[in-house]
């Protein structure tokens, strides 16, 4: 039986390449220890994080999602993080409609020099999601999203219909 003490939440983290990913690297270089629950997925900009990616993470069993980008005004792409900020408001409402507490989605700003902040953000996020408990039954809640969230869409999906491994496949002799 999972108790709040033994529950280890699974959290997918979307980290922008220029600020937070570098900040997370710095935390490592500085040997700052933090919980292993956040699984980082690198994106070039937090502005790339479309709602489907967040829903996909919950669909795949994540108990929480952490998006982290550059501080407002410091975005490598000028203002992508502002777009993320606005999208987060919408996502909060969307998640609530699916019965997912909006506290399970967190948006933070961590710069390339803030390794200590990253360690703190992860620690806090993990604790917050641990208190919320397991999400459970996510797939039921996200039923209506099925189809969007499957990676292996049929050809002609979001990948221009090219076979993902069209080139170089021949070397294997298949």
């Amino acid at each position: 039986m999972t108790t709040p003490e033994t529950f280890e939440p699974k959290i997918v983290g979307f980290l922008c390449n220029w600020c937070t990913y570098a900040g997370a690297d710095l935390a490592g270089v500085s040997r700052l220890k933090y919980p292993p629950n956040v699984l980082p997925v690198r994106v070039m900009c937090s502005g790339r994080v479309e709602p489907e990616l967040v829903l996909k993470a919950f669909w795949e069993g994540a108990d929480g999602v952490l998006i982290s980008g550059c501080h407002p005004g410091d975005c490598h792409y000028i203002e992508g993080n502002y777009k993320t900020l606005r999208r987060k408001e919408l996502l909060d409402r969307l998640l609530e409609q699916f019965g997912i507490e909006k506290e399970r989605l967190r948006l933070t700003w961590v710069s390339a020099s803030e390794g200590d902040l990253w360690a703190r953000v992860v620690t806090e996020t993990v604790e917050a999601v641990r208190r919320l408990g397991p999400l459970g039954r996510t797939r039921d809640r996200l039923q209506s999203c099925d189809g969007i969230l499957a990676a292996d869409l049929p050809a002609g999906g979001c990948c221009h219909g090219e076979h993902p491994a069209a080139e170089g496949g021949g070397t294997g002799g298949r």
Binding site: A22, P36, L39, V43, P51, G61, A119, P164
Partner: protein
């Protein structure tokens, strides 16, 4: 879900004990071997070393591996290394993916089992992702061979001269009316007691007359767009009110000007006129009218300088000029400012007239300064005793936690000069630790000790006034005694801090700042000149407090970085850009206002939006907003990311 043709090779790196000390590398390897599509999984002590790379090349050739995953350090470290390795083996570089199990797993996780599990999850994410990778080709773009240098202190000057002497064009933009920066304020430099002006002014003059250098003083950069090789920069050249090229620099105008205000160059110790040159050796030697205080501008009448100018150079009608120019590379050399010690009221600065900052003291010792080089109190008397306090604002968590690096040596120099220029006053230095780290620095410290300066190990705690003298309170930590030292003059060696507008400047140039507020370098040890923005380099104290030798060295280093780009003539542009599928685009135009680079335009004829990949920088903001899934960011497309999420989150 794996594509049938993907033949994945996974290589798990030990990185000596860096990874293997925390992560069970063989367990990660065995785990990877069991994942769909993986044809080979290996581990090796150092994957980045030649034998490690050879393993990959061999498997590509012999096993037909066509997707490569290296689980090792951050992609910010070695992704280029391994991409090159793939290319050498004849595979497209973008069939590569890295799992960061060092910085973001081994080094930050205390528990070994948990670390191994997280490493496995990240590898699973990469394995899920790579089948959807597609071959991408890097593009090249020409580099405009002109360098922009922002800031005309000693670092910017050094960089400008190096680049100009190589035969390439440089624009040097300086906010103040003259180049020279803080070094121009000093009288002597440590450790040799070289005259600062004697070594700096020849370089300043070289900048002023070099045919390859366009010098814009009293000017500021307003806006930067574009990217390495093709920056478009908007510069505001403020109206000087004196025509350059007509003015002969005779100086009659400022000798007749009736308005006097405190001189910024003398840090408030002396006065300047409304039309002025900040110091006699200014480059360019063309005065500027401070319109905020000039009577002609504030009251609408005066006109003396115009009347007395024999060359007819004074022009009250001159307007600010906006200049737009293209540059290939940019060097930021904007320097530092000093901590305002009135924010630490215990030292009495601003309350007691004979408490000075070190920068004011520099001006006092300078022959062209407000006291013509004599060390005297406000009452005109030479001090009998001078206290020099280290670390005011530095190494202090109430203000700035870092060491400002130059102050110990500046203090030792100040002690020497105070003794020499005051007719032999007793000098007391209050220090926490003495940091005399540079070439000939310790020797200079020894020399000044032998000159009879009293060095007291203990930070000055307070300065008070008692019986008409200043008294410095401090704990002498060597004697274990509390001391009260009466003096006539106190010099506060204040912290070197980032400019108040460093944040705004960072935004203009799209660079980052470290936690101390100085500009952030690409790597603190191995890439001190680069920033995260390609083509923008750092020189001097804008990166961290630096003394003159280090600023000069970094200025020359930044020039080498800039020249490397200019000589190469072209830069490689990442193929990670957006593409819009015309068949899927509904023509809603949602993406157009979202693009920060105006790379997307609407094709009215076809009724679809189109992305100009030459302008696109690959942020993916448009992709995230596209309702019909027509916009796609190469290498970070929806399939790849969905698969990666599936991989990392699978339990």
């Amino acid at each position: 879900m794996s594509a049938p043709d993907a033949r994945i090779g996974v290589y798990v790196c030990h990185c000596g004990t860096n990874i293997a000390g925390t992560v069970d590398v063989p367990a990660v390897r065995d785990f990877a071997a069991g994942l769909p599509g993986v044809v080979v999984a290996r581990d090796y002590k150092y994957m980045c070393a030649d034998p490690g790379q050879d393993l990959i090349k061999k498997d590509i050739k012999e096993l037909g591996v066509n997707r490569v995953i290296v689980a090792s350090c951050s992609p910010r470290m070695h992704e280029p290394t391994f991409r090159r390795c793939l290319q050498l083996a004849g595979l497209n570089a973008y069939y590569f993916e890295m799992a960061n199990i060092r910085e973001q797993v081994a080094w930050c996780t205390a528990d070994k089992a948990a670390a191994t599990k997280k490493a496995q999850a990240l590898v699973r994410g990469a394995v899920a992702r790579v089948p959807y990778h597609e071959p991408l080709e890097e593009r090249t773009s020409p580099v405009c061979p002109v360098t922009l240098i922002v800031g005309g202190g000693v670092a910017g000057i050094e960089a400008a001269l190096k680049i100009a002497s190589s035969g390439n064009k440089v624009w040097l933009v300086e906010r103040e009316p003259s180049i020279g920066g803080n070094m121009a304020r000093f009288d002597k430099t440590f450790p040799t007691l070289d005259c600062a002006a004697c070594i700096l002014t020849p370089k300043m003059a070289d900048v002023g007359r070099h045919p390859n250098i366009t010098l814009l003083t009293y000017s500021e950069v307003l806006e930067v767009s574009g990217f390495i090789g093709n920056f478009e920069v908007t510069i505001k050249k403020r109206a000087r009110s004196v025509r350059h090229g007509v003015c002969t620099g005779c100086g009659v105008c400022y000798s007749k000007c009736p308005t006097k205000v405190p001189s910024e160059f003398d840090v408030g110790l002396g006065e300047r006129t409304a039309i002025y040159v900040p110091f006699p050796q200014a480059v360019p030697n063309v005065p500027v009218i401070d319109r905020e205080v000039c009577r002609q501008f504030t009251k609408g009448k005066c006109g003396i300088c115009q009347k007395v100018c024999p060359a007819g150079a004074v022009d009250y009608e001159q307007q600010d000029e906006i200049i737009k120019e293209k540059f290939g590379v940019i060097i930021i050399a904007t320097g530092f400012e000093v901590f305002d010690p009135s924010l630490a009221p215990q030292y009495g600065y601003g309350r007691y007239p004979d408490v000075y900052t070190a920068l004011q003291f520099e001006r006092m010792t300078n022959a062209s300064g407000p006291t013509t080089g004599r060390v005297v109190c406000r009452n005109g008397q030479e001090p009998k005793a001078v206290a020099i306090l280290h670390c005011i604002g530095s190494r202090d968590k109430n203000y700035y936690p870092y060491c400002s690096r130059v102050c110990c040596m500046a203090s030792v120099k100040a002690a020497h000069l105070a003794k020499e220029k005051s007719g032999g006053a007793e000098i007391y230095e209050f220090y926490i630790d003495m940091r005399t780290f540079g070439k000939q620095y310790e020797e200079f410290y020894n020399r000044v000790q032998e000159e009879g300066v009293h060095f007291i190990r203990g930070k000055g705690a307070e300065v008070i006034e008692k019986d008409g003298r200043l008294v410095v309170h401090a704990e002498d930590t060597l004697l274990g005694l509390y001391r009260e030292v009466p003096v006539d003059m106190v010099v506060l060696n204040t912290a070197l801090i980032p400019h108040a507008d460093a944040g705004r400047v960072a935004q203009i140039f799209n660079i980052q700042r470290s936690q101390d507020g100085f500009y952030l370098e690409a790597h603190i040890k191995l890439d001190p000149m680069k920033t995260a923005t390609e083509g923008v380099y750092l020189a001097g104290a804008c990166q961290s407090p630096k003394d003159i030798p280090d600023s000069v060295a970094q200025g020359a280093g930044a020039a080498a970085e800039a020249l490397q780009r200019i000589v190469a003539g072209e830069v490689v542009i990442s193929p990670v850009t957006c593409a819009i599928d015309a068949d899927r685009c509904a023509g809603c135009r949602m993406c157009i206002p979202l693009c920060p680079y105006t790379a997307i335009t609407f094709n009215a004829e076809k009724g679809v939006s189109e992305c100009n990949e030459a302008l696109c920088k690959g942020c993916g903001t448009c992709v995230a907003s596209c309702a019909s899934g027509a916009a796609r960011l190469k290498h970070f497309d929806q399939r790849q990311l969905l698969a990666q999420i599936e991989g990392v989150a699978a339990s």
